[in-house]
């Protein structure tokens, strides 16, 4: 059986499995016990997602809602980066415009929440249509550059329009009646996430979805097969804009008061990072990765809640542990003698210096000057480190790592080595 190794570049859950692969797996059907086990695990996951936020007090349930909203935004970027290979460095503009549109429609125009979300989705799509229509003849790096400039343009210009955003003062965005409490709004957002996931899934099963995957692999070959590359990329961009608009609207009503400074370039980078760390083209991975990033601040807060810690008590050990873990991973993967020797040596040296602050008075003073890593800052510092680790070591992200489990849940044989393609990379677009 082991002789039958098929190395097909099978990228995503969305790709129709190649014929040989289907033959190889067709013979396997889980027994009754197997299905029960899968059902139990699936039910457990569902229970955690559905019930766990109920068990925390209302003011903390909001954090989970943010996780769900981030997942929607992550899926929006996944459509663009994962499916077409184009990258948007200005997604904060799409999310922000969605947020302000919904807030404007609900607060100033006095319409209800449903119309607000619809308007946000429509404006998000329209925005993408215009920007993409003008600029999508440019691809790859240059398109990323245009979106970057557009993001700052929105920050400086659109987000300062007084009637839309209230200038710097912000715009109130009340929640819909019946969903005012944090717990209820969580389920509303979860429903929207379900909707987005469903649309995404169905979309990728259409001819258009396959065209997207084809043009990502190689735009020229796809064009030669009759795929209208520019049109389908624009289509994906519009879908991404609609998702981002929905995410933005929910974000507005989650915070109930939108301020324009939130939608800055750092946020756009965090969006990209969470999508890439989650694993492009893997819906489950993107959802997990995005939610993880949204939950990072509360996680750090939780670690500190137990007892009042001194400034450097937690900060430094966390950094050292992270550095040690990264270095060890690198050393293990490279299996080079040099790295295997110097990495642990460096870690040992740093740890010694840190663990014996009493012996190194000069350094102790310096270390005490280190400000605490506040929960709000955590995604900005930890996030990019995770990103760089993902890109250099695990290019498939979370999605690729959990693939054996998701495949098992779908009724396949559990295969720890089933990681899809060996090298899942961000895109295959040459600029």
């Amino acid at each position: 059986m082991s002789a039958l190794t098929i190395e097909y570049p099978e990228d995503a859950e969305d790709v129709a499995p190649s014929e040989r692969r289907r033959e190889a797996t067709a013979s396997f059907r889980p027994g009754v016990g197997g299905w029960v086990a899968r059902g139990v695990v699936g039910a457990l996951v569902a229970a955690v997602v559905l019930l766990y936020p109920l068990s925390v007090p209302g003011f903390r349930a909001g954090e989970f809602t943010t996780g769900v909203i981030f997942a929607i935004i992550g899926l929006s970027l996944n459509v663009l980066i994962g499916y077409t290979g184009q990258i948007s460095l200005g997604h904060q503009a799409f999310v922000g415009v969605g947020a302000f549109t919904s807030a404007y429609v609900v607060t100033v125009q006095g319409q209800n929440f449903a119309i607000g979300v619809l308007a946000a989705a429509a404006v998000g799509g329209l925005q993408a249509l215009i920007l993409g229509g003008v600029s999508l003849r440019i691809r790859g790096l240059y398109f990323a550059l245009v979106t970057l400039a557009y993001g700052t343009l929105a920050e400086d210009s659109i987000f300062n329009i007084q009637t839309l955003t209230g200038g710097g003062a912000g715009q109130p965005a009340p929640r819909p009646t019946g969903f005012v409490s944090n717990h209820r709004f969580y389920y509303l957002c979860l429903a929207f996430l379900g909707l987005v996931l469903w649309v995404d899934w169905r979309m990728m099963r259409t001819k258009g979805g396959r065209a997207l995957l084809a043009l990502r692999e190689n735009p020229r070959v796809a064009a030669a097969y009759g795929v209208n590359v520019r049109l389908f990329t624009l289509f994906a961009f519009v879908v991404s804009g609609v998702f981002a608009g929905i995410g933005g609207a929910l974000f507005a009503h989650q915070t109930t008061f939108v301020v324009n400074v939130v939608f800055n370039f750092q946020l756009a980078l965090v969006f990209i990072i969470m999508t890439v760390v989650g694993g492009l083209r893997s819906r489950s991975g993107v959802v997990i990765g995005s939610a993880l990033f949204a939950l990072l601040p509360p996680l750090i807060k939780m670690l500190r809640l137990e007892r009042p810690l001194k400034r450097m008590d937690l900060t430094i050990p966390v950094i050292v542990l992270a550095a040690a873990a990264i270095a060890t991973l690198v050393a293990l993967r490279k299996r080079t003698r040099g790295a295997a020797l110097w990495a642990p040596a460096a870690i040992a040296a740093i740890s010694l210096l840190v663990l014996l602050p009493g012996r190194v008075p000069f350094l102790e003073a310096r270390l005490h000057d280190v400000p605490p890593l506040t929960p709000e800052l955590a995604p900005l510092v930890v996030g990019p480190l995770l990103l760089l680790l993902t890109l250099t070591q695990f290019p498939g992200g979370v999605g690729q790592q959990i693939r054996p489990i998701t495949q098992w849940l779908r009724g396949r044989r559990f295969d720890i080595h089933d990681r899809g393609a060996r090298d899942v990379v961000v895109t295959d677009v040459r600029a």
Binding site: I138, I272, P384
Partner: protein
Amino acid sequence: MQQAVVYGVITGAVYGFVAIGLVLIYKSSGVFNFAQGEFGTVAVYFLYLAKTGWHLPYPIALLVALGVAVVMGLLTERLIVRPLFDAPRVTLLVATAGVALVSIGTQVWLGEAKPRTIAPILTEPNRITVLGVFVSDQRLLVIGVLLAVAAVLAWFFSRTSLGLAILAASQEPTATDLVGISVKRLSSFTWALAALLGRLAGVLSAPVQGFFTPGQLTLGQGGLIPGFTAAVIGGMTSLPGAFAGGIIVGIAQSMAGSVSWLNALRGSQAVVVFSLLLLVLTVRPQGLFGSRA
């Protein structure tokens, strides 16, 4: 109006520095380096730390900043760019954006999110007038250093074997390796050089303003986006084009702040830079000075 032009040229000179760094790296690694602005901002932070925190004299503080920027450039090359050498270019773009974000996050974390003041090296504000506009010595220094760097770079890339080797490696890395030139070493060298230019942009521009904030040269209209626009105007591959592009962007931006009907528009500078970028990319993607790649 005249003031807008004169100040635009000076701001443009800083964008020129950023743009040259971007072009250098694009030529050698094929990467859009989003960390370019951060090489400058980090250098400014270390300049501030060395000067105010460690009480070192200004020249030595400048040297410290120089060292830090070069080390950062080399580390980025070694830890991020080289492992991803075979990865698609867009992956590398995301990776360098990650480097920029680590850097900004660390600045906010360790340096706190408040503006810090930094004094210019040359303090005389209005000794000289150009076109009837007072130009401070620090601003003159920016222009002077840019011109000097331009001359040195022009000489370096046309007369020295190292400069020619870099050009060769950017055109045909495999063939360059085959004739016995280490492309890897050249790559390291280019990144160090680019970091050095970023550092020049940082330590020269921050004192003109008198203060600096985290991510100064990356966020908003501060450096990276105008720098990229300048590089694109220059065709992404032409060093003199990047200089000229920087000046063009600087003047355009400065005009946007002073022409009244434009200034009425909110975020007029961002609008002008964005329009310029879009215009060049859609109408003349090879830039004003570049050749068709």
